[in-house]
Amino acid sequence: MLITCPYCGPRDVIEFTYQGDGNRERPDPASQNFEAWNAYVYDRLNPAGDHNEIWQHSGGCRAHLKVVRNTLTHEISSVVFTRGDHGRGDHGSAARGKAEDKS
């Protein structure tokens, strides 16, 4: 299984650390809503099919990635940074892609 890191390109799955269900929303740190915290810590969507999940490229650039992967086929259809604003600018893949286009 290869994951195409936006920084580093296609890399073997052993370079990545799995962090599971990417649909969960972490409550506000000040929140005292125990039910929301319990749900965040323990409850998971576990679909057979496309699954939104978080991986970290821990053996590479260490970026946190939001991946859409099919749990029936292991096929990956999307890899983006977990934060929309993260990775843009000089070091981002978009910028690098543009530079390559010009050459």
């Binding site: 319990n38 323990y42 998971r44 969507l45 576990n46 057979a48 749990t71």
Partner: protein, 420 residues
Amino acid sequence: MMAEYSAFSLLANALKGNRDWKPAWRKPDPKASYDVIIIGGGGHGLATAYYLAKEHGITNVAVLEKGWLGSGNVGRNTTAVRSNYLLPANTRFYEHSMKLWENLSHELNYNVMFSQRGCLNLAHTPAQFDDYARRGNAMRHLGVDAELMTPAQIKRLIPALDISDSARFPVVGGLMQRRAGTARHDAVAWGYARGADRRGVDIIENCEVTGFLRDGDRITGVSTSRGDIRAKKVAVAVAGSTGRVMQLAGIDTMPIESHVLQAFVTESLKPFIDTVVTFGMGHFYMSQSDKGGLIYGGDIDGYNSYAQRGNLPVVDEVMSEMLALFPGLARVRMLRSWGGVCDMSMDGSPIITAGPLPGMYLNCGWCYGGFKATPASGWCFAWTIAKDQPHDLNAPFTLDRFHRGLVIDDKGQGANPRLH
């Protein structure tokens, strides 16, 4: 009930050309309604049906299996049976299972080839050995057998093991449970199936559940690929498919992730190892089947999967660990590998409970230790279904324990299923 299989019946049928054997279970069409429907014709579902009929006299029962009987994890595991846990809830439950295993062939009149060849956990650091001593003491405190072994004793038991100081991870000792061992997993499914069938349970294969029949919140039956079937009680025992089946009931999130676990078998060898051995510096376990193949496995792949197949990094890791323990196996050829889908729970312990909806009963969260639990899982689940309350042995294994701060985390890994 007279034993169907005996020396006498073998001889009598042999003289008649073996033409008169009855099939081990019938192939009935589903009836319109049952007292109890069990979804999932694996080991746990079949054992549940057997104990419902035998212990509680509830025989108007159907077991619905989407494929063929025993096509899931009951035929995919590495067959180890043990009860060497640390926490009392797990120890008591798995020890009850062990006691049922010890009489299972006799109970079922079916040879499940339960072989108490022992299970040895290897320790590779003094701290790990201390930890094993603690677990062994916890086991003995609850009446389970456990003994510490020295490297010299281990070398006598497993001559092929590299226990030299130059081993990648030298062995400093081990924790042995002598009553642990292996069983023939297919026979467990077939034995429970025949026992349930002979008591009147309908085992319905190629019957996939596609939805639940509801009356408000209450579950009143299931829609299947073979039509609607009504039932007073619907029990779910579908292991790795728990997420999918619960979504059919409108329950989207569960304290479960489905992961793929791979297993491997080598070509047949002469007798090489007569116990189950586990590696302490990684995740590796191995035993030898009666046919001679070495059966072994390691960690789950570590990401959600329903694919029943894994990837190469885990294959590489498992082989490396095998060679760290047994350098002499370097030239042995691997015959087959396969994958099974495991219902990894958030604390590594199972769930056997009434609910979460009225009319529904749930058995899941077996991680990759479900095979050894088969008898006790069925026994406790049948009790829970028959009496609408858990037995003392499965009372701790609730679904709401995660939200109530009552997790049973034997490995102390936290809510991270890939680490259990």
